[in-house]
Subunit: 383 residues, 2 copies
């Protein structure tokens, strides 16, 4: 169900009330590292109106813990906005007065698209760990099916941050004629060792949780502890040291407990914050999808057989903008700059911009007039 | 048992074969945040010879996962050297031809000194979580008892890195007449929010392990998974991003398994390395001590009631050298510099030095001619 009628009723410069749609693809999808789905579902949302020649579509790719719900709210009573509501909407950088913006849940996900927790029609049971290994290439291949289904032959823009930025780059490489422009934020062309290391600790925490049970668990008994630990740790990597000092410092909570060991309960505000992050995450995210998506990140390496990005980027046609954020230590500016340097060396149109921010990796999700301006200018420029 | 006779027989510039000693203190120890031990043990080692007027003693303070075994080996067949064997020995920076070097296991530890795993004489059972909360101040108070017992009224130097650096600073503040000089490496005067955050994730991993069981476990059934996860994560923070890229990059292990999900086994070298670190740690370290020591780190804050270091440092008499390592992001150079800046503002003798290194926080443990020179020069200078 498309809700553009609802959207049009919103007069406050917001996307307003939205709903998701499901695209059921009955053509098999073969995965890059082996395995196949005979059919699959992609959940998506759209904002704005597709024009007559279907030339104004923008695809937004989500990060590890994101989803298709990029903007607006689901109802008057549900005030939780989509994760990029600050970027998408009337007169916003991805202006829904001009563009038809599409958000979709990645294949392998747990929020509507087919993933490890979905029922395998062949067995009547969840795929769990029999789900094919998912790569960024597979995510993009599934998105391409959705775009084809929507009748769009060429996207105006593919944009995303972090894992979403990897997808945007993969679009440029795999479907050079299907995307006019690419914006990749806070990302990398190949996962670095430290990021792999953090992901492996998260996966270990999940797989060591007895309730993980080899990936076979239920809605009432699942590895919440392992997933929470993984999320708490990962969340630290999304924020900067200086940002944490500024926001939390050494502020303590006022514990009333007379228990002398209450000191081992979260007593600093930062501890409490992390526990809150962990708890809210396990209520909305699936542990097996976390394993598959972090592995997709770790596998990601756009360098070709000769070890260079230039080899892979030979196919790129779209101008590419990458944006690094100064305090992002997960995918630091240098890794975003490296992408553009490789493109420029082979005479492709590419630009790198750096945004000053204390908010770490999550900077791409937050209020940033400078980022807004970069997106607007890149979209408005002649391709 | 003191092994200086063995040490003297070594002709290769090494401390050689050593053994530990135990100091059983029967005077009660009151802890800074409450609680008391009626008696306790401190395990320690010494290298070199105490001179006649007992003026050549150096106390080495260990970090979170360290112990009293700082130098030498326990036997011809046990080739595992003490953790600072590169620093301590004949003609080394802490020169055992000149100095009597003491390493001791911190109170609360699990490697010989009384800690949560020790038997409480009052109950005949392990203390477990009834052990008093341990602070850096308590560690130093217990060390002071050992130094008194050894008949040493004034140490030539107190030196340590990371948690050991905190202890060295605490010596300067709490016992200004008992230490002639202080060297604190890769440390901080107060734990920052990011470091607290990582420690809390580690503690959560342990306390969520069903085998932790409220801190009550056995040698055959203990929270190895939780402790391993905590160590794997912490180990990432001890190394630098650039160091990990240089050492491991994206190198993969050759997995022979035909299991399609072997991809979720450690497949990158960095993953394998972390698992190895986790496994070896659980074989030598106690989960409850990990909880207590990380909490001691997090509680540590030398700032006085008015929020300044100057207030606390008013008592300091010893010259203080702090050393930061350029790629240390756990206790970065700025935090080491801040200590010296505060001391200088109140006219204390203090110096800050920065050592270029790609090895992150662990730099203080590794081969470094520049660090060696800094230690030698500071020791040789007139106090």
């Amino acid at each position: 169900m498309n809700n553009s009628d609802y959207i049009d009723r919103d007069a406050e410069g917001e996307v307003g009330i939205v709903d998701y749609s499901d695209f059921s693809c009955s053509e098999p999808l073969d995965f890059a590292l082996g395995g196949r789905l005979e059919s699959f579902n992609i959940r998506y949302e759209t904002y704005g109106t597709l024009n007559a020649d279907k030339s104004n579509a923008i695809l937004v790719c989500h990060a590890l813990s994101g989803d298709h719900h990029c903007a607006g709210v689901y109802s008057i009573s549900d005030r939780k906005q989509g994760w990029w509501n600050n970027i998408i909407g009337p007169n916003k950088p991805l202006d829904t007065n001009k563009y038809f913006v599409i958000g979709s849940n990645c294949i392998g996900g747990c929020l509507g698209s087919t993933g490890p927790g979905s029922i395998n029609p062949a067995t009547g049971k969840p795929y769990n760990m029999t789900f094919p290994i998912v790569t960024i290439k597979d995510m993009v291949a599934a998105q391409k099916r959705l775009i084809d289904y929507l009748g769009i032959s060429r996207l105006k823009l593919v944009i995303g941050g972090s894992m979403g930025g990897m997808q945007a780059l993969e679009w440029a490489v795999d479907y050079p004629d299907s995307a006019e422009k690419i914006i990749a934020l806070a990302t990398t062309a190949y996962q670095n060792a430290q990021a792999i290391a953090f992901n492996e600790v998260g996966r270990s925490a999940i797989m060591r949780d007895p309730l993980w049970n080899g990936g076979s668990y239920t809605h009432s008994s699942f590895p919440a502890d392992g997933l929470s630990t993984a999320r708490m740790m990962a969340h630290i990597t999304y924020l900067s040291k200086v940002g944490l000092d500024a926001k939390f410092g050494r502020h303590k909570r006022n514990l009333q407990s007379g228990d002398p060991n209450s000191i081992f309960m979260p007593s600093f505000e930062i501890e409490n914050y992390l526990h809150h992050q962990g708890e809210s995450f396990v209520n909305r995210f699936d542990a097996n999808t976390y394993l598959y998506f972090t592995k997709a990140l770790d596998i990601f390496d756009l360098r070709g057989k000769n070890g260079t990005l230039e080899e892979t980027f030979a196919s790129v046609k779209a101008p590419v903008l990458t944006v690094g954020f100064t305090s992002d230590w997960l995918f630091p500016p240098s890794q975003n700059r490296e992408i553009v340097n490789a493109l420029i060396r082979i005479k492709k149109r590419a630009a790198y911009a750096e945004v000053e921010s204390q908010l770490g990796h999550d900077s791409f999700l937050t209020e940033s007039p400078r980022l807004y301006e970069l997106i607007r200018n890149f979209l408005d420029a002649n391709a």
